[in-house]
Amino acid sequence: MALRFSSAVSLKGVAKRFDRIVAVDNIDLEIKTGEIFGLLGPNGSGKSTTLKMLLGLVPLDAGAAEVLGIDVAKDPVGVKRNVGYVPESPRLYEFLTGLEYLDFISDIYGLTAEEKKLRVNEYLKALELEGREGDMISGYSQGMKQKVALISAFLHKPKLLILDEPLNGLDPKSARIVKDLLHELKSQGVTTLMSTHVLAIAEAICDRIAIMYQGRVLALGSMDELRQRASLPSSGLEDIFLKLTGAGDIRAVVDELLR
C-alpha cells in the first residue's frame, strides 16, 4: 500500500537531554514529502540525536514526532519498516560477506526472492562492489563498508531515507552515483533527510537546509533564504554556516597555531 503525506517528517516541541547535557532543545521541524533536506551543525549540535529520535532509537523527553504519518512513540516498528537508515559510523556484521549481509537485510524487510535478486545485483553493480560481494566484510575498506550500509538502506525502497554522513569514505565516482540516486529517488517521491559536515554537498543537493546549534534550529530554509537570513547575499554555505554558528575569527586561530 502506497503511503501519501504532505509532511514526511513532523517534529513538534521535541527535546532530549542526556544527564545535564541538552542534546535537542524544543525543536519544530516539517519536512515535505519528496524533499532532500539537509541537517547541518557543528559537532555536538544535536543532529545525530534528532535523526535517531525520528527512527525511535532514542526516546523523546518531550514533544511529538511523526514520520510518514506514523507516531514514532506509538509504532516504532511501523516507522522502521518504511525508513532506510544509515548511521554516522555504521558497524556491520563483519563476519558476513557483503552478499550475506544484504541477504540478511532483505529478509529483515521481507523482500521476495525475486526482489532480492534483482535489487541486490543492481546495487552491487552500480556501486562497483561486484567481484568483492563474496568477501567477508572484515576485509572491506571503509568506503566499501559505507557502500554496503547505503545499499542496505535503499534495498527495501523506503519512503524516507535518514542518512547520517552518507558520503563518508566514498570515492568520488560512488559519491556522485549516490547523489544522482538521491535526486532520482526524489523524483519518485522519496524523502531524504541527511546530516553532513561537507557543506558543498549540502549546498549542491539539498532543497532546504536546517542549521542546528546547541540543540536548537538556528536557521531553516533554501540556500537563498539562508543567505538573506545571514545577510550574505552572494556567499556560499560555508560562510553562512560560520557566521550563523558564531565560529569567530578563523584567521586569528590559524595565526595563533602558527606562532
Binding site: K52, L55, G56, L57, V58, P59, P76, V77, G78, K80, R81, V83, Y85, P87, P90, R91, L92, Y93, F95, L96, T97, L99, E100, L102, D103, F104, I105, S106, D107, I108, Y109, G110, A113, K116, K117, V120, N121, L124, R132, E133, G134, D135, M136, S138, G139, Y140
Partner: protein, 557 residues
C-alpha cells in the same frame, strides 16, 4: 636497541593487558601498590617456605646425617629439573594469556609508524608476557630455593639455578611470541586463499587447537601428571641431551657434577638457543608484523536467494535471517568459537580421569551415577546458560541494525531462543553418546538423563536470555564484552537455583536408592520435573519478551 623504548613498550603492553581484562577502556586508574603486591607476596611466601624447609632440615632431619644427605640430593634433583619445568609452565601460562587476548578486536602492538625497531618491539612483547603469573612463580621459587640453600650449603647451586630459570622462562616467552605471530598473522594469510572452506578450516582448526591445548594443560597441571612429568624430566634429561629445551638443565647437571667444560658448552648452547628463538620471533614479526586482515572469500557468482529450511519450519524471513546470521557468527568469530570448547572440556576432564584410573577398578555405583549426570547435564546446562547470556550482547556495535530494523520483540526472542536450543540440542546428543559409550548406564537412566538435559536446557536458556537482555554489554573495545559481570553473576545464581528446583524431585529418589525414605518411582520424579521446568520456561520466556520490548524501546546508541 633503545632500552627506553623497550621499557615504554612493556608498560604499554602491561597496561593494555589490564585494560583488556578490566571493564573500562577510558579513565583507567591503577593502584601501583596493588600491582606489586603479588610479587611482594610471592617473595615473602617463598622466604617463609624456604625458611620452614631450612628449619626442618636443621632440626628434624639433623637427627640422622643420612636424612640430610637424602634431602640435599632431592634438592639438587629439583634444581636440575627446574629450568625445564619452569619452561613448560611458562609456555602454558603465557599461551593462556595469548588465548585470552585472541578475541581482542584492536591491536595492542605499537603503531608501525613510530620510531621503534622490531627487535625492541619483540623484546618488549617477550618480556611483558613474563609479567604476572610466570614472574610471580619465579619470584616464589627463587626466594624459596635461595633461603633453603643457606641451610643446606648449596647457595651457589641455587644462584645458578635461578639464572637458568630466568633464561628458561625467557625462552618460553619467546616461543609464545613465535606462536603469537604464527597464530594471528601467518595462519590468517594462509587462510586468505582457501575460499569458502576457509571459515570451516578456521572453525575446526581453532577448536582443535583449543582442545589440544587444554589436554596438555590438564595433563601438566593435574597433580598426577605434574609429578610424572617431574620424574620424567629428572630421569630422561640426560638421554635427550640433543633437544635444545633441556640444554639448560644439562648445563646445571654438568656444573653440579664438576664438569666445567661440559657446563660451559651447554650454557653456550642454551644462550645460542635463546637468541635463536628471540631472533626467529623478530624475523617473523618483521615478515608478518604489519598485519592486514585477510579478505576471506566465502562465495562467488551471481546472487541467487534461497528459501531455506528455517522458512519451512515456520520462521518468518526476519527470524530466519537472524538465526542464519547468528549461526555464521558462531562459526566465524573467534571469541564465539571459544564457547564450543566449554562443553568439550567438560567432557574431556572426566574422560581423562576415567581413562587415567587404574584398570580393573570399578567405580562405586553412586560415583558412576554422578558421572553420568555430570556428562549429560553439565555441558548442556553451561552452554545454554552462557549462550543465553551473550546472545544479545554478541551483536556488539552492530546492534544498531537490530534497533533500526522492523523486528518485533517476539521475533527477536523467538529467533535467539531457537538458536540456543538448537546448539544445545547438538551438545546434548554428543554428550549423551559419549556418556552412554563410556559409562554404560541402564536404559532407564539414559532416558531420564536425556529428559532432564532437555528440561534444564529449555528452562536455563529462557532464564539466561531474559537476564542477558538486561545485562547486555555492546562495547567491543578493547574486546567484545557481551554481558556485564554483575548480570552474569546474577544469572548464574538464578540458574543454579532453577536447576536445583528442576532436579529436586530426584532428591527423594536418590535417598530411596540408598535405603533412606520411601521408595519412589523414577518416572514419577521425571513428571514432576517436567511440570516445574515447563512453568519456569514459560515464565522466563515471557519475561524475555518483556525485556526485549524494553531493549528495543530504549535503544539509545
Amino acid at each position: 636497541m633503545n632500552w627506553k623504548n623497550v621499557t615504554h613498550l612493556i608498560r604499554v603492553d602491561i597496561k593494555s593487558g589490564r585494560l583488556i581484562r578490566g571493564s573500562r577502556l577510558a579513565r583507567f586508574w591503577e593502584n601501583k601498590i596493588l600491582t606489586y603486591v603479588f610479587y611482594g607476596g610471592a617473595l615473602i611466601l617463598g622466604i617463609a617456605v624456604g625458611a620452614l624447609a631450612g628449619y626442618f632440615y636443621n632440626t628434624v632431619l639433623a637427627v640422622d646425617p643420612q636424612f640430610q644427605t637424602l634431602f640435599n640430593q632431592g634438592l639438587l634433583s629439583l634444581f636440575l629439573s627446574l629450568p625445564t619445568l619452569v619452561m613448560v609452565y611458562s609456555v602454558v601460562f603465557t599461551m593462556m594469556q595469548q588465548i585470552q587476548r585472541s578475541g581482542v578486536r584492536f591491536s595492542i602492538q605499537a603503531p608501525y609508524w613510530l620510531p621503534i625497531t622490531w627487535e625492541e618491539h619483540t623484546l618488549a612483547s617477550t618480556l611483558a608476557k613474563l609479567l604476572g603469573f610466570p614472574l610471580i612463580s619465579i619470584v616464589f621459587i627463587s626466594s624459596a630455593i635461595v633461603v633453603v640453600s643457606f641451610f643446606t650449603g648449596q647457595v651457589v647451586y641455587a644462584a645458578v639455578t635461578i639464572l637458568a630459570v630466568l633464561a628458561s622462562s625467557f625462552m618460553a616467552s619467546a616461543i609464545t611470541e613465535i606462536f603469537r605471530v604464527f597464530q594471528i598473522r601467518f595462519i590468517g594469510a594462509v587462510y586468505k586463499s582457501s575460499g569458502r572452506a576457509t571459515v570451516w578450516v578456521r572453525f575446526i582448526g581453532s577448536l582443535a587447537f583449543f582442545i589440544l591445548f587444554y589436554i596438555v594443560y590438564f595433563t601438566v597441571t593435574s597433580g598426577v601428571g605434574a609429578v610424572a612429568f617431574v620424574q620424567g624430566v629428572a630421569s630422561a634429561q640426560s638421554s635427550v641431551w640433543y633437544i635444545p629445551f633441556v640444554w639448560l638443565g644439562m648445563a646445571l647437571y654438568s656444573f653440579m657434577n664438576g664438569l666445567p667444560l661440559q657446563a660451559l658448552v651447554f650454557s653456550a648452547l642454551s644462550l645460542f638457543f635463546a637468541f635463536s628463538l628471540f631472533y626467529t620471533a623478530v624475523l617473523l614479526n618483521k615478515w608478518f608484523g604489519l598485519y592486514e586482515p585477510p579478505a576471506i572469500t566465502v562465495s562467488r557468482g551471481i546472487y541467487a536467494p534461497r528459501a531455506g529450511i528455517l522458512g519451512r519450519l515456520g520462521f518468518s524471513p526476519a527470524e530466519a535471517a537472524l538465526i542464519r546470521k547468528d549461526f555464521r557468527a558462531f562459526t566465524r568469530r573467534r571469541e564465539l568459537m571459544y564457547i564450543f570448547v566449554l562443553p568439550i572440556v567438560v567432557i574431556l576432564v572426566p574422560l581423562m580421569q576415567s581413562l587415567g584410573s587404574p584398570s580393573g577398578q570399578s567405580a562405586p555405583p553412586f560415583s558412576s551415577l554422578f558421572s553420568v549426570a555430570l556428562i549429560f547435564l553439565f555441558p548442556v546446562a553451561i552452554l545454554s546458560v552462557y549462550l543465553g547470556l551473550i546472545m544479545i550482547g554478541e551483536e556488539g556495535g552492530a546492534i544498531w541494525r537490530i534497533y533500526s530494523s522492523p523486528i518485533s520483540a517476539e521475533s527477536l526472542v523467538k529467533s535467539k531462543y531457537f538458536f540456543i536450543v538448537f546448539l544445545s540440542l547438538i551438545v546434548v546428543t554428543l554428550t549423551g553418546i559419549v556418556g552412554v559409550a563410556v559409562f554404560h548406564p541402564s536404559f532407564r537412566a539414559t532416558i531420564v538423563a536425556f529428559a532432564e538435559s532437555f528440561l534444564l536446557m529449555f528452562a536455563l536458556a529462557a532464564i539466561s536470555l531474559a537476564i542477558g537482555m538486561l545485562g547486555a554489554d555492546f562495547r567491543e573495545l578493547p574486546r567484545p564484552r557481551m554481558i556485564r559481570p554483575e548480570w552474569s553473576l546474577l544469572d548464574f545464581v538464578v540458574c543454579l537455583i532453577a536447576a536445583v528446583v528442576i532436579l529436586s524431585p530426584f532428591i527423594p529418589y536418590a535417598f530411596s536408592t540408598v535405603g533412606l525414605g520411601p521408595s519412589i518411582d523414577l518416572y514419577q520424579a521425571v513428571v514432576v520435573s517436567v511440570i516445574i521446568s515447563a512453568i519456569t520456561t514459560f515464565v522466563a520466556y515471557r519475561i524475555a519478551i518483556r525485556n526485549a520490548k524494553g531493549l528495543l524501546a530504549k535503544a539509545e546508541m
